[in-house]
Amino acid sequence: MTTELGIAVVNGIFAGSVYALVALGIVLIYRASGVFNFAQAEFGTTGLFAAYAGVVLWNLPYWLGLLFGLAAAVAMGLATERLVINPLRNSSRVTLLVGTAGVALAAIGIQFWQSNEQPIREMPKIVEGVALQPFGAAITWQHLITLGVLIVVALALAVFFRSPSGVAIQAAQQDGTAAELVGISVRRVSMMTWAIAALLGGLAGVLSGPNLTFTAGHLTFGAGAALLPGFMAAVLGGMRSMPGALLGGIVVGVIEQLGSLSLFGYMSGGGEMMLFFFLLIVLLLRPQGLFVRKAVAA
């Protein structure tokens, strides 16, 4: 039982680092545009498909392929902001939500279409092989790299939000009109936020993709589904706190893995069950989030 629990926790932490990357993007966009971005995971899948095209189909060097994947994700984020979010800025939040869901579905449709000949694909890992085996859980180098990138990203975001651009973003998020009055272009800030969020989504995609084979919609409802866990992580952080989202991602990853314990061995979808009830409990008991701080979190 202890070993099993250990495996679940270790696997959960590494799965959770992907969720945390997605959740960070969701929180950023929620703070900037006040919308639950259902396309966040699709930024990842699009980046993954682009990186796959670069590395496998065009035989680019791996780092160039990754760069291309991230660029594709950022381009998609900017296009979403320009074509969907900006025209709808005065509509209600639910309309915006439907809009982002539409973006996600459009991306999924194009992925299905483009991967028609070979629906299941496999992205090579950055470094092949297993790094360590705590409790017998196989931790690959890819997992370690993902966790490392998450830490670097978190630190970089913390530094960025203290730089002038970062402060401008926070100002625009708190009061758009006041920010305009002191000379901050809300339009540019909004685009910058979406670009950063899409970059985070893209990172989640290109880093988690090689763990499994992938199909269209991989991060939204495929094998590597990170959309719902990402949202839950963001909710745990009260939708506004970035450190909260980060921690939330790890917690959600572990909780989801607990569903795979042999306790629930006779049923399928234990992870989804854990997530659903956990979300209900959190939203009903502490809708403001588990890890919320009073001050504006960086």
Binding site: V35, F36, L83, V84, P87, L88, N90, S91, S92, R93, V94, T95, L97, V98, G99, A101, G102, V103, A104, L105, A106, I108, G109, I110, F112, W113, N116, G217, T220, F221, A225, L227, L228, F231, M232, V235, M267, S268, G269, G270, G271, E272, M273, L275, F276, L279, L280, L283, L284, P287
Partner: protein, 402 residues
């Protein structure tokens, strides 16, 4: 739309005699009597429009054509096309999707809450009805009410715990519920039959694909009628008030929670009926049918159809049902053109075009198909053809509550 119909009809009647009188009176006695308020609503229509005989004949011809398309063609009556079994199967599916679209319309259109878990509602209906028919050996006519009851019950349960949350958080819960149902509930092999799927026999007299289509059509008609009557009831009017402004509505004594719950349960019942039919329509029922993608397509077809517009929702649902698997493309013989120009295979047409239609709908034409066809719909009801009909603020998606 039907509300505006009523007001214009009322408005038109006194205008016959009253309009000249009021103008005389206002000249003579100044402000003694307010002119009828209704007068300025119909200022573009001085006399009530009555179509000429030719006009009536033209309208009758279009109605007959519509009836022919809906009733005769799928049954191969008076029809030059010989429709095969699979084509009629798609027609049944279109009717079922229309029921599901109406169900989602109750939720998104009337209460302004959005459900990303509607595939679970439909799936519960499908599997309950399949279980009742196959494992309990009961009749289809008993299975549908049971499925509807269970569907209403699960909606009530989910609503009771989650309707405390509003807007975005509620959407999140429905998303989690959809995935939970898809993976966990439908993963219970004893209940759903698991990966192997289930073959659900059709009711006596409707085994045939052609007759089954008319069964689906009858259910659609019943759902349309119930939806129409419910929205005219006290509860329906309460929901309309609620959607406009929950705070004002509650200050008029409307219990927000109870009526949102009411809409939620109706939506669950409709979805389960659609699911029960879907279980019969697909000869082979597997849990994988009810995935998240299906939920997204349900939302797409409802919003593109036009919220709070029954005709629009039905048309939108039919289009999306036919777009799936490329039926519409095959029917119109467009697959060659699509394949040669942009290399888009017919089966992906719906997946690629659908979301683009959705984005266009919410950014450019918030009234959806319902608004686009409003001039034609007005004309068919014996009104003048007015290209600007339906451009009322009622039919906007943007007033969906957050």
């Amino acid at each position: 739309m039907s509300d505006s119909e009523v007001t214009t009809e009322i408005a038109a009647e006194p205008l016959d005699g009253a309009a000249p009188e009021t103008t005389q009176e206002t000249e003579a006695e100044g402000t003694r009597e307010m002119p009828p308020v209704v007068a300025d609503q119909v200022d573009d229509e001085v006399a009530p429009f009555r179509p000429s005989i030719v006009g009536w004949l033209a309208r009758g011809a279009v109605w007959a054509l519509l009836a022919w398309v809906v009733f005769a063609i799928p049954g191969n009556y008076f029809s030059p096309f010989e429709l095969g079994v699979s084509d009629v199967g798609h027609a049944s599916k279109a009717a079922i999707f229309a029921i599901i679209g109406l169900s989602l319309n109750v939720l998104i259109g009337y209460t302004g809450t959005i459900s990303f878990g509607h595939q679970a509602f439909v799936g519960v209906g499908a599997f309950v009805s399949a279980y009742v028919i196959v494992d309990m050996g009961l009749e289809f006519w008993l299975a549908v009410p049971i499925a509807a009851g269970v569907g209403g019950l699960q909606a009530a349960l989910l609503g009771a715990i989650s309707l405390r949350l509003t807007g975005l958080y509620f959407a999140l819960v429905t998303l989690a519920y959809g995935l939970f149902a898809e993976e966990t509930l439908f993963g219970i092999t004893a209940f759903t039959g698991g990966e192997g799927g289930k073959n659900v026999p059709r009711p006596l007299g409707f085994e045939n694909d052609y007759t089954f289509y008319y069964l689906c059509l009858a259910f659609l008609a019943v759902v349309l009628w119930v939806d129409w009557r419910l929205m005219r009831s006290k509860g329906g009017r309460a929901l309309q008030a609620l959607r406009e402004n929950p705070r004002v509505a509650s200050s008029y004594g409307i219990n927000v929670k109870v009526y949102t719950m009411y809409a939620f349960i109706i939506s669950g019942v409709f979805a389960s009926i659609g699911g029960a039919l879907l279980a019969q329509q697909s000869t082979f029922l597997v849990p994988e049918t009810f995935d998240f993608e299906l939920a997204l397509i349900f939302i797409l077809m409802t919003v593109v159809g036009g919220l709070r517009n029954r005709v629009g929702v039905v048309i939108g649902s039919v289009i999306f049902a036919l777009l799936e698997e490329g039926t519409l493309v095959h029917l119109l013989h467009l697959e060659g053109i699509l394949d040669s120009t942009i290399g888009l295979p017919a089966e992906f047409f719906g997946l690629v075009i659908g979301p683009i239609l959705l984005l266009l709908t919410i950014t450019r034409f918030p009234g959806g198909i319902g608004q686009q066809i409003a001039p034609l719909a007005q004309w068919l009801r014996g009104r003048r053809f007015d290209p600007h009909a339906g451009k009322v603020r009622e039919v906007e998606v943007s007033d969906v509550r957050a």
